[in-house]
């Protein structure tokens, strides 16, 4: 799979091909959902992931080809996650139930204790830091790509990753 394939796929989506849209989902759902699971509550993450692909379907013509398709989808996902985060009550609810949900979303192959610790550790990070850490360490994006996705200066991303990583290690080391 190359970025040229992705652009061709998006071109077909723009033309109304449902088959291409299905392929686009299959190719990128894992990265988008992984990112969202790190930055939002599981319920919000699934909603935001579905909304991300629907936005890609309806707004495929807005893709300018400046970034690759995965980064474009991740930037949509980030805007959706931030939109869902807005609202005081939602934010409060998310913060209080995050740990419980984090237990339920991970593959059964991982250790439940690790999952709980990871959920708790992630919940301690501010959302921007969590997003930068998820993109760079979870999804394997470069700092520059993450800066593009999150629409933040490169220096801010580096700082978020550095601090987020340190805080995660500290939190995971304590548990």
């Amino acid at each position: 799979m190359t970025s040229e394939d992705d652009v061709a796929l998006l071109d077909a989506v723009r033309g109304g091909s449902e088959r291409a849209f299905n392929q686009l989902i299959d190719r990128h759902q894992q990265a988008v959902r992984l990112f969202l699971r790190g930055v939002a509550s599981p319920a919000d993450a699934e909603d935001a992931a579905q909304e991300t692909f629907l936005a890609a379907w309806t707004q495929a013509s807005t893709f300018k080809g400046l970034a690759d398709v995965r980064s474009w989808l991740l930037s949509i996902a980030w805007r959706k996650a931030k939109g869902m985060q807005r609202g005081w009550f939602r934010g409060r609810r998310r913060d209080t139930v995050y740990h419980d949900h984090a237990m339920s979303i991970t593959p059964e192959s991982s250790d439940p204790a690790d999952r709980l610790a990871l959920g708790q550790a992630l919940a301690q990070l501010p959302q921007d830091q969590r997003a930068a850490v998820m993109l760079c360490l979870g999804c394997g994006l470069s700092h520059a790509e993450a800066a593009e996705v999150l629409d933040m200066p490169l220096g801010t991303i580096k700082s978020h990753v550095l601090r987020g990583r340190a805080r995660l290690r500290e939190a995971l080391g304590e548990t």
Binding site: G15, Q29, A49, Q50, S109, L137, G138
Partner: protein, 98 residues
């Protein structure tokens, strides 16, 4: 040392990842899209209904002719139909152009 720690952290974060292929998720996206489209069409129909009733009432109160009210009704129906089917039509035309 830092690199090893990063790899361990990456591996841990990747335990949050869903399966590489997930047909259920795809179905949920399509279902959500259908649901949104249905809601949009119902809203357009309701809106058109309200506009038609209001337009008819205004035309009747102002002593408008039957042709005027009929014309208004047709215009409302045309706008509602365009709002409902235009996106699909545009996609179909674009698809034919490929």
């Amino acid at each position: 040392m830092d690199g090893d720690d990063d790899q361990a952290l990456s591996r841990l974060l990747q335990t949050l990842a869903p399966p590489e292929r997930d047909a259920l998720f795809r179905i949920k996206v399509l279902e959500r899209g259908e649901r949104q489209e249905f809601t949009r069409r119902v809203a357009v129909l309701l809106g058109a209904g309200v506009v038609a009733v209001v337009a008819y009432a205004i035309a009747a109160t102002a002593g408008g002719t039957n042709q005027v009210t009929r014309g208004l009704g047709l215009a409302v129906a045309g706008v509602a139909a365009a709002a409902m089917y235009l996106p699909a039509l545009v996609r179909a035309i674009r698809g034919m152009g490929k």
